[in-house]
Each structure stands twice: as structure tokens, then as C-alpha cells.
């Protein structure tokens, strides 16, 4: 185990979870333990080689911004500025991270400094506009940031958004070059277009969800513009784009065979089963004991969320952002096939997944799985037999809780 990872484990282990079930249900976001902050996601102070590069004034490329959620509607907003010029463009672009391990990701994120200014989400002033320019630029923008005091390095994690490193309160912030903002995006700023319509339009024009959610969080879209906390914007965009893609695939014909896809990355194993049927989606999450959310467990903990053809009316609380990220990746693959199907996703999270890196891991993991050539079967039984060989948890445990896998159809009784 690498040095950084070792220190993270040590830091996490200092905290004992308060209840068996609460942490997994909450994943640091709903604060079910009634503490002001999640003790497991509390800042972990480890050494970073980039720490010596931290100064009171930083001039460097900013590939993105970050909008906090704590204190909503008065939140911290500010640029993420790279302490080195090199690779600045990939530091906040998870579509380029696939294949990196936990340590690489922590290192990558440690090269960014988060600037913070407290703003009401509805207040669109000069500072917010500058942040917006950074967020909307398709290339990192050179910025000058003056902090109130030298930024402090400490790692922060979230189950939805990417880890963050050093941060500091901003005293002065200037954009030092012209940002590269696509014309249509610039127009959307002025247009009275609903936020979800703007999201769908940009997606259809070929922008990926990473760019769109960044723009979304900066308050660029909607009739009443407002800042959206980064973690909310990620899931909101996954949900909006997901619903849009699903509305398209629901018009296609059903697949004719059972298909199985799988992939493992960052201690997360995925099996995706597609069945001939109208669109439906079900996702299992099985957490091994001793991941950050299951420290108090001795057996794996399993969550399941699903939706039928007409979609869901409630938020997928037990899986949260992970559900919407995986659903999008599966829907995108069906859109490419021009087919519809009933999809069942099995996600097994192994012990090595000691820190959450954000839902991009799920999106990219499932996208990778769906890019591979699937195994095809003519019966459900054969498909399940195949899946079973790669799952750590007995298939029966899943079957018992599945809706589509254990459901008969009316035509079987004709």
C-alpha cells in the first residue's frame, strides 16, 4: 500500500462510526449523526509535495471552479488554480482519469488550490462573473489569486465530487487572459432558456457532462441564474441528461438477446446485464465491510434502487449520485446501439476503496464496461450463471431483492 493511502487509512481509522446503518445511508451528505460535519470525511492532514508551492499569491492556470454546499444559500465559490502549468487541463477533467489509482488521483488533485469567497447563490456580481468565465472556458484560464493568508493543505473527500487539496479565503481574484468560451454557451448566458433545456442542448452538441456540470454550477443556465453547489450540479446533470437519453431509447426496439458487460476499476467491480424488455433500470450496490462507509459492518451491505419504464418520482436516496451516474452510462450505451432493454447493474465495492473519489469513477467505469464486447446469451439463466462467476456476493442474495430478475410476465400464463 502506498504512503498516501496508508496515511489516509490511519486518519480514517481514528474515527469510529456511530451507528451500524447511518453512515452507509448518509455517505457524509445528510449528516444523519447530527454532527456539524461528517467525522469520516473530515479533513485529512497528510503531506503533499506540492505544499511548498503554496504562496499567498498564486498566478497560474485555473481549469475549473468549485462551489461548496455548506451554509447554503451562502456558499463558498472560487477558482481551482493549478500550482504547476503542466497538465492543468486534466486536473478537473475526470474523463481523462480512467486508469489512475487512488494515489495518482490524490496527487493530481493536490496540484489544485481552491479559492473561496462566500456568496449568496442568487447574487450575480463581478466576482461570480469571473468565476463563470473560468468555468465556461474550454481551456484553463490564467488567473491571479491573492489569498488572505497562505492556503492550507488538507485533503477533503466527497462521495459525489472529486477530492480537493489546499484551500484559502480569497482577497483578490483576476482573470489574466481571455477565456475560450464557445459562442453558443455565451449566448445561453443571455437567453431565457430553462436550465434543463440548456443542459440537453449542450449535450446534444457534443459537450460531455463534465463540462456541462461545471457550467451548470457556475450559474450559467436557467431563467433565474444562480450558483449550484458542485456536488448537486454533478447529479443534476447526470439526471437531466439521463432522462433525455432515456426518452430517446424508449422509442427503439428491444434487444433480442441477454447481454453481459463487466469491468473493474478502483476496487469497484461492475456487472451490467441487459435483458430483452422495455426500458427499466435496477442497480445494486454491495459494500464490502471496512470501506469508509462500512467500518462497523462485518458482512457486506447491499442497497438497491430501481425505476420502471415511466421513471422514478423520488430521489434514489440509498445510492444517490452513483445511481444517476451509472444510469446515464448505461443509457448512453443503449442509445449507441439504438435499442432499449431492461438493465440490471451489480456494483461490488471492495475493501480497497478506502476513500470516495467522486461519482465520475462510476460513470467512467460503467462507460468502459459498455464499450467492451458483451457476452451474449439466449436465456436469463445462462446470463446469470456467467455473472455469478465474477461476483463475490452469492447471486441468490441479489435475486431475492431484485424486481425484474425474479418477476414473471403475463404472457407466460396465456
Amino acid at each position: 500500500m502506498g504512503k498516501i493511502k496508508c496515511e489516509i487509512v490511519k486518519a480514517i481509522m481514528k474515527y469510529r462510526p456511530m451507528s451500524r446503518k447511518l453512515c452507509l445511508a448518509c455517505k457524509g451528505s445528510r449528516l444523519l449523526c447530527h454532527r456539524p460535519k461528517c467525522p469520516l470525511l473530515t479533513k485529512i492532514n497528510i503531506q503533499s509535495s506540492f505544499e511548498r508551492k503554496l504562496r499567498e499569491e498564486i498566478f497560474g492556470p485555473s481549469p475549473s471552479i468549485f462551489v461548496g454546499h455548506s451554509g447554503y444559500p451562502n456558499v463558498f465559490v472560487g477558482p481551482l488554480t493549478a500550482v504547476e502549468d503542466e497538465k492543468a487541463d486534466i486536473l478537473d477533467d475526470p474523463s481523462k482519469w480512467y486508469g489512475l489509482d487512488l494515489e495518482d488521483i490524490v496527487k493530481l488533485r493536490s496540484m489544485l488550490v481552491r479559492g473561496k469567497t462566500r456568496k449568496n447563490v442568487k447574487k450575480m456580481d463581478k466576482i461570480v462573473e469571473k468565476n463563470q468565465e473560468v468555468a465556461l472556458s474550454i481551456k484553463p484560464v490564467d488567473t491571479e489569486v491573492k489569498f488572505a493568508k497562505k492556503p492550507k493543505y488538507s485533503l477533503t473527500f466527497s462521495p459525489v465530487s472529486q477530492p480537493l487539496g489546499a484551500s484559502g479565503i480569497i482577497e483578490k481574484f483576476d482573470v489574466a487572459e481571455n477565456p475560450k468560451i464557445p459562442k453558443r454557451v455565451d449566448n445561453l448566458l443571455e437567453d431565457k432558456v430553462k436550465a434543463n433545456e440548456a443542459v440537453v442542448e449542450l449535450y446534444e452538441r457534443g459537450y460531455d457532462v463534465y463540462y456541462i456540470s461545471r457550467a451548470f454550477s457556475s450559474g450559467a443556465f436557467g431563467i433565474e441564474k444562480r450558483l449550484v453547489p458542485t456536488r448537486w450540479s454533478i447529479t443534476a446533470v447526470d439526471d437531466i441528461v439521463g432522462k433525455h437519453v432515456i426518452s430517446k431509447i424508449k422509442k427503439y426496439s428491444e434487444i433480442s438477446e441477454y447481454m453481459v458487460f463487466h469491468n473493474t476499476y478502483l476496487y469497484n467491480h461492475f456487472e451490467i446485464l441487459l435483458m430483452p424488455s422495455k426500458w427499466q433500470f435496477e442497480m445494486f450496490e454491495a459494500w464490502a465491510p471496512n470501506t469508509i462507509w462500512t467500518l462497523a459492518y462485518t458482512k457486506p451491505a447491499i442497497n438497491v434502487e430501481r425505476e420502471g419504464f415511466f421513471g422514478r418520482t423520488t430521489y434514489a436516496e440509498s445510492e444517490a449520485g452513483a445511481y444517476y451516474a451509472a444510469r446515464l452510462a448505461v443509457a448512453e450505451a443503449l442509445e449507441k446501439m439504438k435499442k432499449q432493454a431492461c438493465a440490471v447493474v451489480f456494483r461490488e465495492i471492495y475493501e480497497g476503496y478506502i476513500i470516495p473519489v467522486g461519482v465520475w469513477e462510476i460513470r467512467e467505469n460503467v462507460r468502459k464496461a459498455m464499450e467492451k464486447k458483451p457476452k451474449k446469451f439466449s436465456t436469463l439463466k445462462e446470463a446469470l450463471e456467467d455473472i455469478k462467476t465474477r461476483l463475490k456476493i452469492p447471486l441468490e442474495v441479489y435475486l431475492k431483492r431484485s424486481s425484474p430478475l425474479n418477476q414473471t410476465k403475463l404472457e407466460w400464463f396465456l
Partner: protein, 244 residues
């Protein structure tokens, strides 16, 4: 075609109960009354609705026909009416005109959609257990079961009807004695397991009926009949595969 229905509330509840399962329907306007039959997209449940022409204030048709209706839009219009408002339906070539008569007279034109003529076949099954109970007791029971599981085992014996489930969070059983039922005819015990999500959607039809007739067998679809004057709303729901 001109149909006049005296109470918007009844239509709201009836079509609302259908709309929980399907989004598009082929509504047949027949000499005897209205009829529709539709299957949910996953082919797990079907709904069959009959409304006799006698419960309409006026029921005039030139010929029997079928109207393709987008239920979401249809319901949005019906929901604009007050409970006691009168509703008038007229077909105009490409659309259906819906008029709400209350204090004001409001007309909405709904485009008719193409829903094809695919026939929905109904499984013909023999049921050893037929019981009639208060739909509210059924609905409450399913809500109890939901506290521990996503599926419920419905069973009937010579003593009565039970709903139960076992889950990670414990187990629950709701029992209704036979003398608390309106009718009870059990020739041999039977048991089948069903998805609670579907049962919940179906049981929203409880609003329209004073009683629900349950046709139960062993690992076969359950048939639920909701009866109100001039209205019969039937659901057939396919079972889950029993693990034990």
C-alpha cells in the same frame, strides 16, 4: 359522438387508477359503454376498464370506434375540473374535445394519438380462492408489508386471507379473518408472491370502490376486481418467482 358525464371526480379517480400502469390507451367507444384494456410496458400487469353507458347523462354515438389517448394529457385536463363539474366528450376528426361545465364552460382539444390495434390477451385461469374485502384494509396491509420488503406473499386458507413478508429488517404478517370479509370462497389453500410497487399502484383504485374482489391461485397472476355502480376496473398482476 357526444358523451356527458355528471361527476368529474369519478373520472379523475378511474382514469388516475389506469394511469398508474400505462401512459397510452386505446379507448373503445361501444354501444354498451366505454372499454379499455392495456398492459404495462414491462408486461407484468394489465388493466381492464368497463364503464356502462347508463352512468352517463348522455351517451350518443354514430358508430363504435376506438380513440387513441395520451393518458397524461387526458388526466391533466380532467384534473382542471372541480369534483362536481359535468364533463362532455366529443370527437372531432383529429382530436377529442373535452368540455368542463361548472360556473364557466371550458373547452380543451386533445390531439388523438395512433396506438395501433394490437390485442391485449388475458390469461384464462382457474382460481381456487375468491374473496371480497374492504380495499382500504388491503391497501393498509400492503403498506405494513412494505416496511420490511419490496414484495408481499398473498395467501388464503380456510381461515382467511394473509399478506406477509420477510426481509433484512424483520418480518410482518397481516391477517384478515374470513368472517370479516364480504364474501369468501376458498376450495383449497393458495399462495403467490407479488411486487409491492405494482400492488401499491393498483390499489390506488381503492378510491373508486367499496370492495375489491381478489382471485388468488398458486404462483399464478392475481386478479383484482374493483366494483362501483356501472364501473368495473380489473387488474391482473403476474407473480414473482418464489425462492423457497
Amino acid at each position: 359522438m357526444r358523451l356527458v358525464f355528471p361527476e368529474a371526480k369519478i373520472l379523475r379517480n378511474v382514469f388516475g387508477a389506469v394511469g398508474n400502469l400505462v401512459d397510452e390507451v386505446r379507448l373503445e367507444v361501444k354501444e354498451s359503454g366505454l372499454h379499455l384494456r392495456a398492459m404495462d410496458p414491462a408486461h407484468v400487469a394489465l388493466v381492464d376498464l368497463e364503464m356502462k353507458k347508463e352512468i352517463f347523462e348522455e351517451y350518443e354515438i354514430d358508430e363504435e370506434k376506438a380513440l387513441g389517448i395520451d393518458l397524461d394529457k387526458f388526466l391533466t385536463v380532467i384534473k382542471r375540473a372541480k369534483s362536481k363539474d359535468t364533463m362532455i366528450f366529443e370527437d372531432k376528426e383529429e382530436y377529442l374535445r373535452v368540455t368542463i361545465e361548472g360556473t364557466a364552460t371550458r373547452s380543451f382539444d386533445l390531439p388523438l394519438i395512433d396506438v395501433g390495434e394490437e390485442e391485449v390477451r388475458v390469461p384464462e385461469l382457474d382460481y381456487p380462492c375468491v374473496m371480497e374485502i374492504d380495499p382500504e384494509a388491503f391497501e393498509a396491509g400492503i403498506k405494513d408489508v412494505k416496511t420490511v420488503s419490496d414484495h408481499a406473499t398473498l395467501s388464503a386458507s380456510e381461515d382467511g386471507f394473509s399478506m406477509k413478508a420477510m426481509g433484512d429488517l424483520g418480518s410482518v404478517e397481516i391477517f384478515i379473518e374470513k368472517n370479516k370479509m364480504l364474501t369468501f370462497d376458498v376450495s383449497e389453500p393458495a399462495k403467490s408472491m407479488f411486487s409491492i410497487e405494482y400492488l401499491e399502484d393498483i390499489l390506488k383504485a381503492s378510491k373508486i370502490a367499496d370492495s375489491v374482489k381478489i382471485y388468488l391461485g398458486n404462483n399464478i397472476p392475481v386478479k383484482l376486481e374493483f366494483l362501483a355502480p356501472g364501473i368495473k376496473l380489473t387488474y391482473i398482476l403476474a407473480p414473482r418467482i418464489e425462492e423457497e
